[in-house]
Subunit: 151 residues, 2 copies
């Protein structure tokens, strides 16, 4: 019935290896750790980098929009955006009396270029392991599953 194992040197039997959700989570966490390590020299965390990328692609956007796109709550955007403004990477101006318009500063644009280089390099490692064709297939499968969840 149940396998008796007490002192074997090998690893445990893992009943989660066949679970899609578990594998996605473990791989995602491993890649996130790599991204975090790659970004450290820029003194940016993944969330900050993603905000810079989004603001760069959408000048004039509001913090709430950015948070919604990234899955970050409005309330949690406040200190992160404030820090990016304080560091001179993001310019914040009033769009109307209650909303802000965000844009990259020149320093922010150079940060975005550096971020893209880091992500490109790490993406290249995955592409080398899978091949470009399988990489595209993987992205398509992930997109299909995301659409299912969105319903």
């Amino acid at each position: 019935m149940a396998p008796r194992r007490k002192k074997e040197p090998g690893a445990l039997v893992d009943p989660l290896t066949g679970r899609l959700g578990y594998q996605l989570r473990r791989l995602s966490m491993a890649m996130m750790a790599e991204v975090g390590a790659g970004l450290r020299p820029l003194r940016l965390r993944p969330a900050e980098a993603s905000i810079l990328l989004l603001v760069g692609a959408n000048p004039g956007c509001r913090p709430g929009e950015v948070g919604e796109a990234l899955g970050i709550k409005r309330a949690n955007m406040v200190p992160v955006v404030a820090a990016l403004v304080k560091r001179g990477l993001v310019a914040r101006s009033r769009a109307d009396g209650r909303s802000h318009a965000l844009a990259l500063s020149p320093a922010g644009r150079s940060k975005v270029a550096a971020i893209d280089r880091i992500l490109d390099r790490q993406e290249a490692a995955s592409q080398a392991a899978l091949g470009g064709r399988e990489m595209k297939r993987l992205l398509r499968l992930l997109a299909t599953l995301r659409d299912v969840g969105a319903q």
Copy 2:
């Protein structure tokens, strides 16, 4: 050059959609939220459920082993395992003077059966969206990428 967008009803341009790491993370978080919701009636969090599954497949295992397999630090295993023991789901006995042996109680085994039913049902939703063949392909691609990271 940069697209001027101020009041359009549509969503923002997302420069992260093509990034594998980002898509993995978003999908993983969405699936994790579903798993968490599915487990709530059992009064189990995902980490607790994964520990029960691992203990069930490896009777006599040590907390440190389980933590290592799941990516949970020994120090953080302590209160989680203690809670499972207190709830009567896990039996903890001394293996030698310094290590514990974990096993499921009958209540723990019935919890594991319930967990498996929930995970099977949620996995079936993904399988229905992709088809069994693509599902296998996806798991294989994810395993390949995990092996790359492990090096």
